[in-house]
């Protein structure tokens, strides 16, 4: 019992609960037998899954996010604290954010929610606006991605695991903070005795994002007719057109524990967002009226059955239909500056006049089957089918680039079949191998003559990827892991087809590909039931080739896509953590990645001066430190007062190539920021009050060149959490 408390508190204290604490396994098995009606148990019961993932041979970090539910972090900000992972945000609440894992980003990594790709969910339902409380667990696969995630990700995947308990719970929270930021979240789950289950999750974000930024001012003449250019000196301005709001509801209902289904759920997710656009991609260009809007409607279906027909044959199927609509509005005939002043323009649009509307529809169906023989042989088969349709619906769309073909249908059907086999002769080691077969089928307009006449054409593309994994327990404290994958990213419909008029597609494109190797060693131990510690060191190797890039050659007329580029990343990720009883913990992580271009020739065929040069515009040294201190039974039994501290560091990096003589004018400076929080928890977690300060020193922070992030902010959060174990 004491043990149980100790370990559950470790989890509670630590900002992150990393999977390598082998001792916690014992705690969780104990917990399974102990009937204990408190929050502690909820956390500990879930631990075994986190632990199980950690013991796998994948280079994976699994985080129990329930420990962060008293914070106001978004899911992306949570990810930012993981070694090897860097989030780059362009501004405040709701701003664009890019996830990078060991140097890969964008299309090269994939994000899943409960195993379903999130790319079709639309911008109103993405990690950067989701509260951390939506997730029960986050898994980050670095380099090698299991077949269960059918994806053509080159360099990793993130999986958000939502709450799936059969217990009854109510979780309600509200926070208010600087820049008039309001966030709230309600989640509710109940399973009746007859197996009927319902889950509801709703959240809302609102912020004025009116933080201060330092930039150059565009001055206007006194007669209000001319723009006089930018001042040389930078000045401070309050953002005046950056309001963001976003709302989402996720509802699921169905049955559990029936003869024909362990779980059968039908769901609907509704989400929308509206964002003012304050500035261009260079911050000194200000806007006063541009907006973007998005909404999405996502019906879902979920089916799971264990021991289907025969013992140990498990089957699951998930399907989503995503309907999204995006609007970009730029209609004002004005030119703004950072003071919020404007001069009139003679034509519509601060940038390019636009009322564009794009609709897209996606279908994702993923089926997974696994079978175990005599505890030693484990087979898994996974298939993901996706189909993507995009169509511009408004003719005022992109006036510069629109063509007849812009309004024609484009579809992108993709099927990814994965098979894996794992051999586990005992507890000491296990090994597995997997294959992935990727196939893409695209349909879209192709110009059949030189005079812009289009007809719909179809093209197909396929390739095979594979990998192997091995893990070995040297002792109770030491674990070794290694994994290898040959991964591919298939060309998109745009890359295969071009945009018909200004770009020509190329069906002979090769998929982008990468060879990923991971080697991890971890150590963990406990001394006298008072001190415990763990260390994990991971070495990574990523050899990525055949980037698909757009190119214009004058002797070919328009633009086209071609394979070019070879990038090598040799990196190291380290994590370490120490616990003293359930009172104190401290930890941190550090990443260094040496990402170099290994392409000898530039795209034109001449020797590349950047050969062996460091890839620009990528953070390559970064890390986090955190510490927390708990006062247990503070002002009453079952109450806890916690102090937390977090430090984020990103070394400065150049936006452009140093070998070309890029100057320090275009640099992303060192970012060092400190966050603190204070949480008071009453009645074993039923009532919670938190106070947070982010960016205490009010540093100017940048993830991207010139795009300044918020300064110091304060937030108060109130949360009520009720939990009832239905299976006592």
């Amino acid at each position: 019992m004491i043990r149980l408390k100790f370990y559950s508190c470790i989890l509670f204290i630590s900002v992150f609960t990393f999977p390598v604490l082998s001792q916690t396994h014992k705690a969780s098995s104990e917990a399974d037998t102990v009937k204990h009606d408190s929050l502690d148990e909820v956390i500990v019961l879930g631990k075994s899954k986190v632990r199980e993932i950690g013991e796998s041979a994948y280079n994976v970090v699994s985080i129990d996010t329930r420990l962060l539910h008293n914070t106001t972090l978004s899911l992306t900000q949570t990810l930012d604290r993981i070694s090897g992972v860097k989030i780059r945000e362009t501004g405040g609440v709701g701003s664009d954010s890019q996830i990078s894992i060991n140097g890969f980003s964008g299309r090269h990594i994939k994000v899943f929610m409960d195993g379903m790709p999130m790319e079709g969910f639309g911008s109103s339902f993405q990690l950067n606006n989701m509260p951390v409380s939506l997730a029960e667990r986050i898994e980050v696969y670095k380099g090698v991605v299991p077949v269960e995630f059918g994806s053509d990700a080159l360099g990793g995947a993130v999986n958000i695991v939502t709450k799936q308990t059969k217990n009854t719970y109510v979780d309600v929270s509200y926070s208010y903070g600087s820049f008039n930021t309001h966030k709230s979240n309600v989640s509710f789950g109940h399973t009746a005795k007859n197996g009927f289950t319902v889950q509801l999750n709703a959240y809302q974000n609102y912020s004025d994002n009116n933080y201060k930024v330092k930039t150059r001012l565009l001055e206007f003449s006194e007669d209000g007719l001319s723009a006089l250019g930018f001042t040389q000196e930078k000045q401070w301005f309050k953002r005046f057109h950056d309001t963001y709001h976003n709302e989402a509801v996720i509802a699921k209902a169905g049955i559990v524990n029936k003869a024909w289904a362990d779980r059968f759920l039908i769901g609907l997710t509704l989400s929308r967002e509206k964002a003012d656009i304050q500035n261009a991609n260079v911050m000194q260009i200000a806007y006063g009226g541009r907006e973007r809007k998005a909404k999405s409607l996502i019906p879902t279906l979920n089916y799971e059955k264990k021991n289907l027909i025969v013992q140990n044959l498990n089957f699951s199927l998930t399907a989503n239909y995503n309907i999204t609509r995006n609007n970009n509005l730029d209609t004002l005939a004005r030119q703004y500056n950072w003071k919020g002043e404007y001069i009139p323009k003679g034509s519509k649009g601060e940038g390019e006049y636009s009322m564009s509307e794009f609709d897209s529809k996606n279908v994702y169906v993923t089926a997974n089957m696994n079978y175990r023989i005599r505890e030693k042989h484990y087979f898994a088969l996974n298939n993901l089918y996706s189909n993507y349709t995009r169509k511009a619906t408004d003719v005022a769309a992109n006036s510069e680039n629109s063509t007849a073909a812009t309004f024609m249908r484009r579809t992108n059907g993709k099927n990814i079949l994965g098979f894996s086999y794992k051999f586990e002769p005992g507890k000491r080691w296990n090994a597995s191998a997997f294959f992935k077969y990727y196939e893409v089928n695209v349909r879209g307009p192709v110009s059949t003559t030189t005079t812009a006449v289009y007809e719909e054409q179809e093209k197909s593309f396929s390739t095979t990827g594979y990998g192997v994994l091995l893990t070995y327990f040297l002792s109770n404290s030491f674990q070794l892991k290694t994994s290898f994958e040959r991964a591919y990213r298939l060309p998109s419909e745009r890359e295969l087809f071009g945009d018909e008029v200004l770009e020509t597609g190329d069906a002979s494109l090769k998929p982008e590909n990468s060879q990923n190797i991971n080697l991890n060693i971890s150590y963990s131990n406990v001394w006298n039931s008072t001190h415990s510690a763990y260390i994990d060191v991971g070495l990574i190797y990523r050899d990525t080739r055949d980037y698909i890039r757009r190119r214009v050659e004058q002797n070919r007329g328009g633009a086209f896509y071609t394979n070019h580029g070879n990038v090598l990343n040799l990196g190291i990720d380290c994590e370490a953590r120490y616990f003293y009883k359930n009172i104190f913990s401290a930890g941190g992580n550090f990443t260094y990645q040496n990402i170099r271009s290994m392409e000898r020739y530039n795209a034109n065929g001449a020797l590349d001066v950047n050969y062996k040069g460091r890839m620009p515009n990528l953070p390559y040294i970064f890390g986090n430190l955190d510490a927390s201190y708990n006062i247990n039974n503070a002002f009453g039994k079952g109450n806890t007062l916690s102090f937390g501290y977090n430090l984020r560091y990103v070394h400065s990096f150049l936006r452009d190539w140093i070998s070309e003589g890029a100057s320090d004018d275009v640099i992303i400076p060192i970012q060092l920021s400190h966050d603190m929080n204070l949480t008071y928890t009453l009645k074993n977690g039923r009532y919670n009050v938190s106070f947070e300060v982010k960016n205490i020193a009010d540093e100017m922070l940048f993830d991207n060149f010139s795009l300044q992030k918020p300064g110091r902010s304060f937030t108060v959060k109130l949360r009520y959490f009720f939990f009832n174990n239905n299976y006592k």
């Binding site: 006089l228 260079v282 260009i285 323009k345 003679g346 034509s347 519509k348 649009g349 002797n555 004018d665």
Partner: protein
């Protein structure tokens, strides 16, 4: 005002001293008599991602490494234009629906590159040039608004798209930029609207611009350009505007098609002023429906009509090849950029054009430029510079770094000048002098 004047005087004096001392030094170094005033060549080059400015005194020979650049630019993809008086380089930029940060460069008394001002380019541009003390850009197909900022509607209640927006960038007033929008509906009296192409300063308070006269752009179709269907492909119109954008007159003729080189959404100028001040109006006969061969007409200095006695049928001299761009070199020489396929292959907004020739508009001769890379090896070119009677033309050849080719218009032969090691493109060359 007097303070300004005295500062100006001081600067001039300082510059004068600077020049003197420079002259003194160069006299010591070699026997060059009468050195030119402080100046430098200004090159815009691209690396893998960024655009850089390089300053050099020599274009004739050798290699220059991209890392010897003087400046990394904030944004990449400027269109550079160069003015003589005042001597400035103006970098225009406008990308993906966002205004861009325009740049102004000059040189100081030591002949060193000097950034003069950053300004905001508030409207897209598809044509550009200089007029009086302005760098001037224009774009057609915009939706004009009334005094309240509401779109002006046509008789059917739809938003009009016949607006042309100009940016007037005042070179004498610290690059202050004023946008002005005019409407072009029925500008030529036939009910059509126009997109403007090219800006040529007539020197009398007016500028000329080519009109691409068309029906309104079909909002459901077309590729990137602001023009709709061309109703009269066998006519050419050139408009004269004053500084207030008042239409002074329209020159019209039926001997050639409209005067504009089309590439993607751009409308390249096909007009130029010869050494004697007469303005030559070329037509590359882009439109597939035109029956007119590509050629040129002339507007004599201060004339109000085309010179009816002058017509140059260029197409019969090129063997059926039509052209996209025209630049004045010196005297009566113009350089043409010609399509790689002859007129029997229909031209589109992204047809390849990597052949070059020289015309003498007075003698009505045409010669292909020799000693430059073959047309199928030219992957890119940049803005050429006419300097001391020669054309300095940046060319990127397959498997090579960008290089400057120096073309003698009299012989139409070229020789290779400097090349920029490590660059992927050489976007523009200009000469800046201290004044």
């Amino acid at each position: 005002m007097s303070t300004k004047k005295s500062i100006l005087k001081k600067t001039v004096l300082a510059g004068f001293i600077g020049c003197l001392s420079l002259a003194f030094i160069s006299c010591e170094d070699n026997d060059n008599p009468a050195p030119k005033s402080a100046g430098a060549f200004f090159l815009s080059v691209n690396g893998e991602t960024a655009e850089y400015i390089i300053q050099t005194d020599n274009l004739e020979t050798g290699d220059l490494h991209i890392s010897s650049n003087n400046k990394t630019l904030l944004q990449s993809g400027h269109t550079w234009i160069f003015n003589d008086n005042p001597s400035v380089a103006v970098g225009l930029i406008y990308q993906q629906g966002d205004p861009g940060i325009g740049l102004g460069f000059g040189v100081d008394a030591e002949g060193k590159l000097k950034e003069l001002k950053n300004f905001l380019i508030t409207s897209r541009y598809t044509s550009y040039g200089f007029f009086e003390n302005y760098a001037l850009t224009s774009v057609g197909g915009v939706t004009p608004v009334d005094g309240n900022g509401n779109a002006i509607l046509d008789e059917n209640g739809n938003e009009r798209s016949d607006g042309v927006t100009f940016n007037f960038i005042d070179l004498n007033n610290n690059f202050a930029l004023q946008g002005k929008t005019i409407t072009t509906l029925n500008i030529t009296g036939n009910g059509d609207q126009a997109t403007l192409s090219g800006i040529v300063d007539m020197g009398n308070g007016e500028f000329l611009t080519g009109l691409v006269v068309s029906q309104p752009r079909d909002p459901n179709a077309t590729g990137g350009a602001s023009s709709g269907t061309i109703t009269y492909p066998d006519s050419v119109w050139v408009a004269a505007f004053d500084a207030n954008l008042s239409l002074k007159r329209i020159y019209r003729d039926d001997r050639i098609s409209y005067s504009s080189g089309r590439y993607r959404s751009q409308y390249y100028s096909q007009m130029g002023k010869a050494a004697d001040g007469s303005i030559y109006v070329f037509s590359g006969s882009y439109e597939s429906t035109t029956t007119k061969p590509c050629g040129a007409l002339k507007i004599n200095k201060n004339a109000t009509t085309f010179d009816q006695s002058y017509h140059f049928n260029i197409e019969e001299k090129t063997g059926g090849y039509r052209f996209r761009k025209v630049w004045h070199v010196s005297e009566n020489y113009f350089m043409l950029e010609l399509y790689n396929d002859d007129k029997n292959t229909p031209v589109t907004v992204n047809s390849a054009a990597t052949q070059y020739g020289i015309v003498d508009v007075a003698a009505k001769t045409f010669r292909w430029i020799t000693e430059i890379p073959a047309k199928d090896k030219i992957t890119g070119t940049g803005l050429p510079m006419a300097y001391e009677g020669k054309m300095y033309f940046p060319i990127v050849e397959e498997d090579k770094y960008p290089a400057v080719y120096i073309i003698d218009p009299a012989t139409a032969s070229a020789r290779k000048g400097i090349s920029i090691t490590g660059a992927t493109s050489l976007n523009a060359i200009g000469r800046l002098t201290y004044q």
